[in-house]
């Protein structure tokens, strides 16, 4: 089973990368652009077909390693 994990910075946390990318794109002429926040993305393959188990496993991976819950949120999607 394939799972997508998206990790984003919490709302009030500074995103220096997003800021620089935003300014660059605006300078390149993207006038309607108002905000960009950068995050991480993982595509995970698991040898297991039970959705519940997969979700539980991936959730624990996020908590234990992939995301830093102090500044980040995560989202799990089976794809």
């Amino acid at each position: 089973m394939k799972v997508a994990v998206t990790i984003t910075l919490k709302k009030d946390v500074l995103d220096p990368q997003g800021k620089v990318v935003l300014h660059t794109l605006q300078n390149m002429g993207m006038k309607t652009l108002s905000n960009i926040r950068q995050g991480k993305y993982f595509e995970i393959e698991i040898e297991e077909t039970n959705q519940e188990i997969v979700k539980k496993d991936v959730d624990s991976m996020c908590k234990k390693l992939l995301a830093n819950l102090i500044i980040e949120d995560y989202k799990i999607d089976i794809i």
Partner: protein
């Protein structure tokens, strides 16, 4: 809004402190005012527990331009060159979010240095982690080291030295201390003291977000189970913006635009504005709606207490605004006049023309509480008799065990993650007794070292305090530098506990004695208290950052053996003190006993003769003997050079374990050419300095009498193992 007891407590204030605030104001504070007080009156800003004792430290010698009290200390190294430096802790934030905590620690200390007009030229750090079996230790180590590297590497300042230690007393409270060193023109040092009424107060740098609100209070609060809830207060660092801020500030500092400048560190806008006004005997009025904000709908409370990074407050001379703004525009940084200086002696905070807070500056600064806390002397423990009878390891196995131990392992896993050479003036990198950084374009350099000895200090703080200053001094001497002055970071537990307070008081006493005797004053520092959890306090851990001067680049030394066939001498007397040493810790698993004593007279004499040898080019290599004793010092000289040694203990001397593993203080090992031997012995004898001739260098094998014989390559493998397998 009525201020409840709960709110007071949440602000880290005691009830009687709240009453004192109300008395100073002649009324109850509102929430914004309470926030401002809590930031200014907490331990981190007010030094309320330590102030009385810190005063005892010597702060002057012929080199000191500026001692403690400014953003950083300043010393004069001749030709109008000044060195600006300070060390600071970021312990609690780093425990909560190691990467960002450590990174912003580096960012913060850098601002302290460049706010004074200095270009930062070196970074160092002292790291204390919990026991390696603690399950948090590995990720904290990884996060902290990459955070320190991430910030320093990006901004382009070499990280040239430091220390990394593990001990279980830091399991729930690691220590991350960062030191920054800058170079300035002595005639162009900038201070935080405001001058003149009606001058523009300018906000520059990054926008203000909700980062670290109440970080300063958190930094001085003891951890408990609930500290998880405090997590969102950790700030995120942006080294790229800091680089812009650094360049913009230094550019603006070229002319006479700036009256005073102060970085926004802990307690951000609050402490910077209060400090500038207080030092100038002035007031300050801020229009908070002008503060550049990152998020919508930020309240005055949030703006005043935000600890967003990479910001500065500047007071400008009349008519300089337009030109200054141009510079900050060039570097894509915010530049906004947010207020002015006044003659009211008050901090007046307005939001859309409405006065939201109005506080006498003195109430926030000189009238902040100072405590003479109860303290208890630490009892000096008796020396253990016949320690070596309990040894159940062979000499050889003991050496192996120590080489493999986390605390004595080669630290290149750490130091390779730091750019040590950028700026191209690093003449001696991490892994040496001190780093050497050249003053750009000049024929002189400074030597830098960071040291701590928590075991010694925990056993007997008075000796520990002395020892740690001496160790710093010795490390500078070892590379051929004249020790000039120190900065220090005092990491201790809860000062409301008289035993802990006693550790602080006696450590300072010990430091004072050594600093005075060695003419090695303290020019800056930082105190971090409440390090511990649920009444379990960390070992008392003063960290000393030493700075020395090298006036001739051809008269420096390092600890690597240079050639085969030269003589090896130990300078200073060996008594075989084993209590509190690496040996007793790692091999005997003993925790008690007194630390090795310091004899300041010998310390000074021995150091001065080593310095003299280096200046006379009589030595090939010098290494001070510190943790691990003679054996570890010798092994390092071999392992780092690839050149072996053949060693024999002096006859009629102590037992082998005592001689090689003892940590008696004030000793050095030197490598000298055979033809210099007579000269060196003559000089030593003339000064009545004890020395032992213990052997000579040889190719690629390290050998001690009949008991130890090993290829250097294999020793290196052993010594490099731990970090790479952790």
């Amino acid at each position: 809004m009525k201020i409840s007891d709960n709110i007071i407590e949440k602000h880290g204030l005691k009830k009687d402190e709240f009453q004192k605030i109300s008395k100073l104001l002649n009324r109850e504070p509102n929430l914004l005012e309470l926030g401002v007080f809590s930031a200014m009156w907490n331990e981190h800003c007010s030094y309320k527990s330590s102030k009385l004792h810190l005063k005892k430290l010597p702060t002057k010698n012929e080199y000191v331009i500026q001692g403690p009290g400014e953003n950083a200390g300043v010393i004069d190294i001749g030709d109008n060159d000044a060195i600006v430096f300070k060390i600071e802790s970021h312990n609690h934030p780093s425990f909560i979010e190691p990467y960002q905590g450590a990174a912003t620690g580096v960012g913060g200390i850098l601002r302290d240095v460049f706010t004074m007009g200095a270009r930062p030229i070196a970074l160092l750090n002292s790291l204390h982690f919990g026991d390696i079996t603690n399950k948090k230790t590995k990720s904290l180590l990884n996060g902290v080291v990459s955070g320190i590297g991430g910030y320093g590497n990006c901004i382009g300042i070499p990280t040239v030295g430091g220390e990394t230690k593990f001990h279980k007393s830091y399991n729930e409270n690691i220590l991350v201390n960062a030191m920054a060193v800058g170079h300035a023109d002595k005639r162009k040092i900038f201070y935080s003291k405001a001058r003149g009424v009606n001058k523009s107060v300018v906000y520059v740098g990054s926008k203000t977000g909700r980062d670290g609100i109440h970080g300063a209070s958190m930094a001085s609060a003891e951890f408990d189970e609930k500290s998880e809830e405090k997590k969102p207060t950790v700030q995120v660092g942006d080294p790229f913006t800091e680089k812009l801020l650094l360049e913009a500030c230094l550019e603006l500092m070229k002319d006479d635009s700036i009256i005073s400048i102060q970085d926004m560190g802990a307690a951000g806008l609050t402490s910077s504005s209060v400090e500038m006004a207080f030092k100038g005997g002035l007031g300050m009025e801020l229009d908070l709606e002008k503060v550049p904000c990152r998020e919508k709908n930020m309240t005055p409370y949030e703006m005043m207490l935000s600890e967003s990074q990479e910001r500065m407050l500047i007071i400008l001379n009349d008519g300089k605004e337009a030109n200054a703004k141009k510079i900050f525009d060039k570097w894509d940084l915010d530049f906004v006049v947010i207020g002015k200086t006044t003659n009211t002696n008050k901090l007046t905070l307005k939001y859309n023309d409405k006065v939201e807070a109005d506080i006498p500056i003195e109430a926030l600064s000189s009238k902040a509480p100072i405590y003479d806390r109860k303290w208890k002397k630490t009892k000096k423990q008796n020396k253990k008799r016949d320690l070596i009878k309990t040894i159940n390891l062979s000499f050889r196995d003991a050496i192996f065990k120590i080489l493999k131990s986390p605390n004595q392992s080669n630290k290149s896993w750490v130091t390779k993650q730091y750019d040590q050479l950028v700026m191209n003036d690093t003449l001696l990198r991490s892994g040496s007794d001190s780093a050497i950084v050249r003053i750009h374009n000049k024929e002189k350099a400074i030597a830098l070292t960071v040291d701590s000895s928590a075991n010694y200090c925990n056993s007997y703080p008075l000796t520990g305090g002395k020892q740690i200053v001496c160790e710093s001094w010795r490390n500078l001497i070892s590379v051929g530098a004249k020790p000039i002055s120190i900065t220090n970071c005092l990491n201790f537990g809860n000062p409301e506990n008289p035993e802990i307070m006693g550790q602080l008081v006696e450590t300072i006493d010990g430091m004072r004695e050594a600093c005075e005797y060695l003419n090695f004053p303290v020019v800056s520092g930082n105190v971090s208290l409440y390090n511990g959890t649920n009444k379990k306090n960390i070992f008392p851990t003063p960290v000393i950052g030493g700075v020395g001067l090298i006036e001739n680049l051809n008269k420096i030394s390092d600890h690597k053996f240079k050639k085969t066939g030269s003589k090896i001498l130990v300078i200073g007397k060996t008594f075989g003190h084993l209590d509190q040493t690496v040996f007793s810790n790692e091999i005997l698993s003993l925790k008690n006993g007194p630390p090795p004593e310091i004899n300041l007279i010998n310390e000074k004499n021995n150091g001065e003769i080593i310095y003299d040898f280096i200046k006379k080019n009589l030595v090939n290599a010098v290494h001070d003997v510190s943790s691990g004793g003679i054996i570890l010092a010798l092994l390092e000289m071999s392992m780092h050079s690839g050149i072996g040694a053949k060693i024999a203990k002096p006859k009629h001397s102590l037992n082998q374990f005592e001689y090689f593993f003892g940590e008696d203080q004030g000793r050095y090992i030197i490598e000298i050419d055979e033809q210099n031997l007579n000269k060196v012995e003559e000089l030593l004898e003339k000064s009545s300095i004890h020395y032992d001739k213990i052997g000579h260098t040889q190719i690629d094998e390290f050998q001690i009498e009949k008991d130890f014989r090993e290829k250097i390559i294999d020793l290196n493998k052993l010594n490099n193992k731990w970090y790479n397998n952790y």
